[in-house]
């Protein structure tokens, strides 16, 4: 590696003035460092400053995480934080749902994307983190094994779709349709697995599990409400356009906290029912208004020619909408809709603030009211932040994948 003469087998011989020996890696590295970190005295100063800040943050974090913090508040309360009042003897429902969702993630990744080295690293880190949590100072061996099985399901699902049927286009179509249908059905299936029969009710959704259920319900419900709203707002029938606009603007006018307030104090006279259901309705209604705006933006971004072309081919209105307009509009609006999904995911923490529902953050509050853990507030909140970050980060990565796939894919 030290001295590299021109490779003997090289076919293309550059003219002498363009010949440049491939310099040793150490030299290249040095050059990269100089160019990217120390280009001038100003750049050097900036780097030093940044390194100082970064160093301080890292040292502070390490000091806190490994020496200052008492993580027992988390490990001791892992079940409280994870599922709270969910009946323990029914825990298989949780694990089964997790395995199902993981397998589905694997299937989807295999169908539309591929797992890179970074993804494996991410799975390894998060998996390690979860297993560490479960194994630390407790006899949660079975939980760890269940979790590993769930991760295994993800990889099996991935290999199934990624390796096998890329041969023919009809196979591919079948695969896309199957996985797509599964994705759409995932939420109802999981709800059935969690709640059907046995000794569980909707009130047993608790802790992190409640976040994990509330967010998808809000997102799916939001899209279902958002599509007709967007079409309605774009309608030329004044009454429809006007009411849809009013709905969207009023809902967007007040914070989610305010709408949860409505769920508690006002909706009892209108729809009644359990507060978890009301919270779900409010989440969906709230998300719907935002989704509608993104879809409307996409509808407006479509060239008029698309509408006219559909007409020219003789499609009916319904066919035009279903085959030409909506697929394109939905595709364009995916990135902002994923943004909204991440937003609603984070907003599930708000249900604890107003409603008597205990999600992850609420149960963390209970954990730090326990005898031995009253001084460990920061630990508990940092943990909650990390958990939410992991899921939100995954969602944002998926969104980037989707965007990239759109760019190179079917258009």
């Amino acid at each position: 590696m030290a001295n590299m003469p021109a490779a003997p087998r090289e076919r293309i011989v550059l003219p002498p003035h363009r010949q440049r020996a491939r310099r040793p890696r150490s030299v290249r590295a040095r050059e990269w460092v100089r160019k990217n970190l120390f280009p001038s005295w100003r750049g050097t100063l900036l780097t030093a400053l940044a390194a100082g800040v970064l160093g301080a943050v890292v040292v502070g974090l390490i000091a806190f995480v490994f020496f200052g913090a008492n993580w027992e508040v988390i490990t001791h309360n892992r079940w409280l934080l994870f599922a709270g009042g969910f009946p323990r003897e029914e825990a298989w429902r949780l694990w089964f749902s997790i395995a199902l969702v993981f397998a589905l993630i694997g299937l989807a990744y295999g169908t539309w994307s591929s797992l890179g080295r970074r993804d494996h690293l991410f799975v390894l880190l998060v998996g390690g983190f979860v297993i560490f949590l479960m194994a630390h100072g407790g006899a949660a061996v079975w939980s760890s094994i269940y979790f590993l099985i769930a991760v295994g399901c993800m990889y099996i699902g991935y290999l199934l779709t990624y390796r096998l049927p890329r041969a023919t286009s009809s196979m591919r179509t079948l695969q896309v349709r199957l996985v797509g249908a599964l994705l759409i059905l995932a939420l109802p299936i999981v709800l059935v697995v969690l709640l059907a029969g046995g000794n569980v009710g909707i009130r047993d959704l608790d802790g992190f599990v409640l976040n994990l259920i509330l967010a998808p319900v809000g997102i799916v419900g939001g899209i279902l409400i958002g599509i007709p709203l967007a079409l309605g707002r774009a309608s030329s029938l004044k009454s429809i356009a006007w009411t849809c606009t009013a709905y969207i603007e009023i809902v967007r006018g007040a914070p989610l906290l305010g709408w949860l307030f409505v769920a508690l104090f006002i909706l009892d006279d209108i729809i009644g029912g359990d507060l978890i259901i009301r919270a779900m309705v409010v989440m969906a209604v709230f998300t719907g208004a935002y989704m509608a705006e993104y879809i409307r933006g996409a509808l407006q971004a479509l060239p008029r020619g698309q509408y006219e072309a559909g007409q020219a081919v003789g499609l009916s209105q319904y066919q035009r909408m279903r085959l030409i307009i909506m697929p394109q509009a939905l595709r364009i609006s995916i990135p902002p809709m994923v943004g909204q999904a991440i937003s609603i995911w984070k907003d599930t923490t708000l249900v604890t603030v107003i409603l008597p529902l205990r999600e992850l953050k609420g149960n963390a509050d209970s954990a730090i009211s326990q005898f031995e853990f009253t001084p460990d507030r920061i630990e508990a909140y940092v943990f909650v932040a990390v958990i939410f970050w992991i899921v939100a980060f995954m969602m944002s990565r998926v969104s980037q994948r989707v965007e990239r796939a759109q760019g190179v894919g079917e258009r």
């Binding site: 990217n36 970190l37 280009p39 750049g43 900036l46 780097t47 940044a50 390194a51 800040v53 970064l54 030329s236 029938l237 004044k238 009454s239 429809i240 009411t243 009023i250 006018g253 007040a254 914070p255 989610l256 906290l257 305010g258 307030f261 409505v262 104090f265 006002i266 006279d269 209108i270 009916s316 991440i342 984070k346 907003d347 923490t349 708000l350 603030v353 107003i354 953050k361 507030r377 920061i378 909140y381 940092v382 909650v384 932040a385 939410f388 970050w389 939100a392 980060f393 944002s396």
Partner: protein
């Protein structure tokens, strides 16, 4: 629909309805009427149902005039005694508290957004990576958790008031808040009454207007003649001299009040309370991450030629950014950043979780004492919408100015 009907000669969308031989049911006018009629009837039914369920006979706001009988913290510039004042007054105190948070958080998050957004595109690898890390961390964690975490860290991290951190007898930091010097009206040389401050501020505005006029004239002349006319320096000079002269002539109507600690209390000066700080910092960090992405996106959307042209003219990196890139990126980013500002407004309701008495919290207390949930919610939503409207109007004004300037 396979029914064969003579197609109208040119069915221009939205054109006049075809008349005559088309059966009534297929006429556009009739259909529109039918659809709207059905729709309105359905909506009316729905509203009637809601109206009936809510039973709005007693809907009214009279209860807001009753005595409040509770106190709120975090007052500033006003002093409302909760025992005798009415509920609506207390609510306005809450609105004022919200406005302060929103204003400060918008300003700070914009600064953070620009700094981090530009840093993300820095050629310095470390800086760019750190900016990315910041964005990824703060954009993907719940604001509620950020706010309570900032609050908890502040309470634990800052010294208690008995061990207050004295910053040169000038400012004091403890977990009761940061006390800083603050200007207050002063009798000065002439034993001036408080309203002299008002006079001075009015004069400052007038001088500012003069300075801006001079600046514009000099800019115009600079453009015409090509000679440097130092517009900014002139404007600044006029303003500084004018301010100083009027300040002296009016007999020093303002003095700086320095805080001090007595027992467990801050006296004089201004105290930035932990609750305000936690909420504002939380909002700033969270919104700053989104703003950074908007800034980055709008800069990247500019044609590469802009950077290259600026380089070709020999501008420094700083000049390139402030004179060429940012002013153009600004136009692109204003709509998205306006959205973020509106979010700041709505997210300020998270004060509910950090002991800060904002409008939402005060409304909650009133509702708890007086009932009338529907009316209180109506008041809340109207307030948020009004604040949103003001923000939108201001941003539209800025947008109009920014897009008007020729390149």
């Amino acid at each position: 629909m396979s029914t064969q009907a003579p197609a109208p000669p040119s069915p221009a969308p939205g054109g006049p309805a075809p008349a005559g031989d088309v059966p009534l049911f297929y006429r556009r006018g009739f259909r529109r009427l039918l659809q709207q009629g059905l729709y309105v009837a359905a909506t009316a039914l729905l509203f009637w149902y809601i109206y009936d369920a809510l039973n709005l006979r007693e809907f009214g706001f009279g209860f807001l005039n009753d005595p409040a009988a509770f106190k709120v913290a975090n007052q500033w510039l006003i002093d409302v005694d909760g025992v005798t004042s009415s509920r609506i007054e207390m609510y306005l105190v809450g609105v004022w508290a919200s406005l302060r948070v929103v204003f400060v958080a918008i300003l700070l998050s914009t600064v953070v957004g620009i700094v981090v957004g530009v840093s993300r595109l820095s050629s310095n690898w470390l800086v760019a990576r750190m900016a990315m890390l910041y964005v990824e961390v703060f954009r993907n964690t719940p604001l509620l958790v950020q706010v309570v975490l900032v609050y908890a860290i502040f309470l634990v991290g800052a010294p208690i008031i008995q061990e207050v951190l004295n910053i040169g007898d000038f400012a004091f930091l403890s977990n009761r808040g940061l006390a800083i010097p603050w200007p207050v009206p002063d009798a000065g040389w002439w034993g001036a009454p408080d309203w002299f401050v008002g006079v001075w501020v009015a004069l400052l505005i007038a001088i500012g207007a003069v300075a801006m006029t001079v600046r514009r004239q000099r800019q115009v002349r600079e453009r015409e003649t090509g000679q440097p006319h130092y517009a900014n320096r002139w404007a600044f000079g006029i303003f500084a001299v004018g301010a100083l002269v009027t300040f002296i002539v009016l007999g020093l109507p303002v003095s700086i009040d320095r805080p001090y600690v007595e027992g467990t209390r801050y006296l004089e000066g201004m105290v930035i309370r932990p609750e305000f700080a936690a909420l504002t910092i939380g909002l700033t960090l969270y919104t700053g991450a989104f703003n950074a992405e908007i800034v980055r996106g709008s800069i990247q959307a500019l044609p590469r030629g802009q950077t290259e042209a600026a380089n070709a003219v020999g501008l420094s990196a700083y000049q390139r950014m402030t004179l060429v890139i940012l002013p153009q990126a600004l136009r692109q980013m204003i709509p998205s950043i306006t959205n973020q500002y509106l979010n700041v407004n709505k997210n300020s309701s998270l004060a509910y979780a950090v002991l800060y008495d904002d409008l939402f919290r005060v409304a909650g207390i009133i509702q708890n004492k007086a009932g009338h949930a529907l009316e209180m919610f109506f008041v809340i939503i109207v307030t948020y919408m009004l604040i949103s409207l003001v923000i939108s109007a201001l941003m539209n004004f800025i947008n109009a100015r920014v897009t008007r300037v020729g390149v």
